[in-house]
């Protein structure tokens, strides 16, 4: 939201970069909370080029230089695609994998789902499209050794030292550059993995060893294995790329450590030992931003919606809790990286339009034009953007602030035959196509909310992404959100969100604990064991956190710890994270209180009749987050300037086709709008990176923080 006349930022800058598949966005926030925004085409071969390019672009908006901006910067967070690219380009390390004897083919079996897990639904159904990529670790570098622990971590077959020695030599001969060790049930007891590591270390003094029990000790063998493989294969290579980026930043005057964003929404320096967690898929930044803005405006329930060119992404924050999934997929792997939960559909503002060859119906997506926009620029197929040009929603002469000229005639030429095919007028066709894509998004959103039993009116909706303000009005139509908020800087909101991320580590540990329903002596004994094992697990996780803090030179006494347990009714499949505000469970009453908290969480999702307290509870995993409280970018509060926008914002009128007829819409420029301004519909607000549509009978109001509230009625 760079207003034209902005000073060069002074004091300490915060910089966040969000590298997407197409563009790298940079947001620079100075000590006063002022924003600078820059964009650069993502360079996948050398991300340091797009990294510096985006910051330079941001600095240039106020006539600043790269060096000035970087040398005055306190924090640089880089949420990139480095990890993903290392995996995709198959340029990872030559890993040797040591597993429990008999489980050597585990990786090849891909949990029976690796051939299609990353596919859209239609392709999952068509087995011809299923495909097994070359394994990241070839079978000749996977070895099995004799050992066995049972599910409680009790020793069944001791580790055969000779096996480890011989197989280690085999792996080294096969060219292994690092060795990953992954034994069955090592999450319950790391004994054998640690013993194996010692033996390997004796044979080779330098080879990096990755232990599954040290990395991510949670149950489900395959997800743990996949995480170990991701770290061993791509972790260290990715670190090299990160270090390149950091080295270039230092050459330009930056004198601190570059940080990266982890999938669960924490930021850590790139020296973090488990860099595989920086594999971030989807719009994690936006959810963090939504969470922060929710805190600022006092709402714990936020629906974060991101409309991009290709996809529509939704994350739901409830009671101030960022939703975490524990088994996200990473390409063809299902891993146990805790990740912010977002869901997507392949419908965005650049989605291709087509006619289904069998049904003759209009189709939208999943292909999109990306930065090629549509027929109006240089994409061979017609897209939703072509419709927006025709309808007058977008100004073909003001796309990206006029940097790119769109061709209205080409859009018309593309749309006319399609409209004819459906026997409707071209304008009507374009409007219906736009409404269809928005309908898809609304249905998706509503299903997500209602499917979890949430009440729409409890939620504030935040809409962002380049297409967010444009799709907003049709997506929220008929939905009674508590408030609908969008942002002048909607297009780079995800990068802004990255800046809102805390410095945070998150740890998970599997345990076996139960809290039976009855309260006789035997049950009390079981509960006592449960308390012990939960407390022990938390203590273990705190130890891991302390080690990681030490590595970065942070004082562990400053850490803000947050403990939780994953509780389920005995033998049910879904468990839910329950926060525990105290330090330890000190009595049976504490355990009961934890279970009550679980039931409270449970009944926000299911009706209270579904409670099944009679069967008791199981706790199979606990988690810990360790934060250092860091300042967040300020959203400054401004003096209200009155409802009428100043004349600098007014750009005249244009004809917009809305609900069947062409109407005059007033046109405004986004940046000169000030806090307190009210824009009554019909109106359009233009910004170089986004356009907001306000139909008749609606208005929007900029509050004291310049957040835009969209409401029905006129003011």
């Amino acid at each position: 939201m760079a207003t034209p006349k902005r000073r060069t930022p002074v004091g300490k800058n915060w910089i966040a970069l969000d590298a997407g598949g197409t563009m790298t966005d940079a947001v620079v926030v100075d000590a006063q909370g002022q924003f600078l925004v820059g964009k650069f085409l993502t360079n996948k071969q050398n991300e340091s080029i797009s990294f510096l390019g985006a910051i330079k672009d941001a600095a240039a908006t106020v006539g600043g230089t790269l060096r000035d901006t970087l040398s005055a910067s306190e924090v640089v967070v880089y949420a990139g695609t480095i990890m993903l690219n290392t995996l995709l380009s198959r340029t990872g390390a030559k890993v040797g994998l040591m597993v429990t004897q008999g489980f050597e083919d585990y990786l090849l079996m891909e949990k029976g789902e690796g051939g299609w897990i990353s596919y859209p639904y239609a392709d999952r159904l068509h087995t011809v499209t299923h495909h097994h990529a070359e394994p990241t670790i070839p079978r000749n570098r996977v070895v099995g050794v004799q050992e066995r622990l049972d599910m409680f971590g009790t020793l069944v077959i001791p580790l055969r030292v000779k096996d480890v020695q011989q197989k280690t030599r085999e792996l080294l001969e096969a060219g292994a550059e690092s060795i990953a060790v992954m034994f069955l049930f090592s999450h319950m007891n790391p004994l054998h993995e640690q013993a194996a590591a010692k033996i390997i270390r004796k044979i080779d003094k330098n080879i990096p060893i990755v232990l599954s029990s040290a990395m991510a000790p949670t149950h489900k063998e395959y997800t743990r294995l996949a995480s170990v493989v991701a770290q061993a294969y791509a972790g260290e290579r990715a670190r090299k790329h990160f270090l390149q980026v950091e080295a270039r930043a230092r050459e330009e005057g930056f004198n601190r450590e570059v940080s990266t964003l982890l999938a669960h929404g924490g930021t850590v320096p790139i020296s973090t030992p488990r860099l595989y967690e920086s594999y971030v898929s989807g719009p994690v930044g936006g959810v963090l931003g939504g969470h922060y803005v929710g805190e600022v405006i006092g709402s714990g329930n936020v629906v974060c919606c991101d409309i991009g060119g290709t996809s529509f992404d939704v994350g739901i924050i409830r009671d101030g809790l960022i939703p975490i999934i524990r088994e996200p997929t990473l390409l063809s792997f299902r891993t146990n990286i805790p990740m912010i939960d977002t869901k997507s559909i392949g419908a965005g503002m650049g989605s291709e339009l087509g006619v289904h060859p069998l049904t003759g119906k209009l189709t939208v997506g999943p292909m999109s034009a990306g930065s090629d926009v549509g027929r109006c620029l240089r994409w061979p197929k017609t897209t939703i953007t072509d419709c927006h040009i025709l309808l007058g929603y977008l100004n073909p002469k003001y796309f990206l602030g006029g940097d790119v000229q769109l061709d209205l005639d080409a859009a018309i030429k593309a749309l006319e035959p399609m409209a004819k095919n459906f026997n409707v007028e071209t304008f009507e066709f374009a409007e219906r196509a736009h409404r269809l894509v928005c309908d898809y998004m609304r249905e998706f959103l509503v299903n997500m909310l209602r499917g979890r039993g949430y009440e729409i009116s409890d939620y504030v909706m935040m809409m962002y992404g380049g297409g967010g303000p444009l799709g907003l009005t049709d997506v929220v139509e008929g939905l009674e959100f508590k408030d609908v908020v969008t942002f002048p800087f909607a297009a780079v909101f995800s990068a802004f969100g990255v800046l809102c991320a805390p410095r945070r580590y998150r740890y998970h540990q599997s345990i076996i604990a139960a809290s039976p329903a009855a309260d006789e002596a035997p049950q009390r004994h079981v509960k006592g064991l449960a308390i012990e094992s939960i407390n022990n697990a938390w203590a273990q996780l705190e130890k891991r956190a302390e080690d990681d803090f030490k590595l970065h030179g942070w004082d562990f006494r400053d850490a803000k710890l947050s403990r939780s347990a994953y509780v389920r009714f005995t033998n049910q499949l879904s468990d839910f994270e329950v926060l525990w505000l105290g330090e330890r469970l000190s009595s049976l009453a504490d355990l009961t209180s934890l279970m009550q908290r679980f039931e409270a969480v449970y009944t926000t999702i299911y009706p209270s009749q579904a409670l099944y307290s009679e069967v008791g509870y199981q706790i199979l995993e606990v988690a810990l987050t360790a934060d250092i409280v860091t300042p967040k970018p300020k959203i400054p509060e401004l003096a209200l300037q009155g409802r009428k926008p100043n004349s600098a914002a007014e750009k005249g009128t244009r004809k917009v086709y809305w609900r069947g007829k062409r109407q005059e819409f007033r046109v405004y420029e986004m940046d000169p709008l000030t806090a307190g301004n009210v824009i009554n519909g019909p109106a359009i607000i233009e910004h170089p990176a986004t356009t907001m549509l306000i139909p008749p009978g609606h208005h929007c109001e900029l509050d004291k923080r310049r957040l835009i509230h969209y409401r029905s009625g006129q003011k």
Binding site: A122, D123, H126, V128, T129, H131, H356, P357, L358, P380
Partner: protein
């Protein structure tokens, strides 16, 4: 024009099994292109030395072709076997493998699970070039049968919507 040429290139690569997996996946996800049949025929026609135009492929080295207004079955090497709706296997050379010893010549022993007392292998060979055209694995005494005879007329007239260029 360039898009057409490109589409022909893709079909050629598809036919030559030279498409990279991501391209192949894209192709499978798309609705079948209406030009694909003609493009495929063009690729096949370019790969044979004879002049008769291909009406429909029956196998990798077996085609129904238009020979002076009549539909006949012809191999890549140029052997003209029979009319389009006759049993072309009757015109082939054949190798029949009945004993375990014979089977071991084509199967690695550790993978040889078929019982030579129950089934035999019949390898249908092009009489001109010796190219393997088809293999049957059937019980001994099983009649010589071809997989299918296409409904040439329906395919051309109902599916492609054009006149069948031969008289049946």
């Amino acid at each position: 024009m360039s898009e057409q040429a490109n589409s022909q290139e893709v079909t050629r690569a598809l036919q030559d099994r030279a498409l990279a997996w991501p391209d192949l996946l894209k192709l499978m996800r798309e609705p079948k292109a209406s030009t694909r049949f003609d493009e495929t025929i063009a690729v096949m026609q370019a790969a044979v030395t004879w002049k008769e135009s291909i009406l429909l492929p029956l196998g990798e080295n077996l085609f129904i072709v238009n020979k002076k207004g009549r539909a006949i079955i012809k191999t890549t090497a140029g052997a003209e076997l029979c009319a389009w709706n006759e049993n072309w296997k009757m015109q082939c050379r054949v190798i029949v493998r009945r004993s375990r010893k014979d089977l071991e010549k084509v199967f690695p022993v550790e993978h040889l699970t078929i019982d030579s007392a129950l089934v035999e292998l019949r390898e249908w060979i092009c009489p001109l070039s010796g190219t393997l055209l088809d293999v049957d694995c059937v019980p001994p005494t099983y009649p010589v049968e071809i997989d299918f005879t296409p409904d040439l007329k329906a395919f051309y007239e109902d599916w492609l919507g054009r006149e069948l260029p031969v008289k049946l």
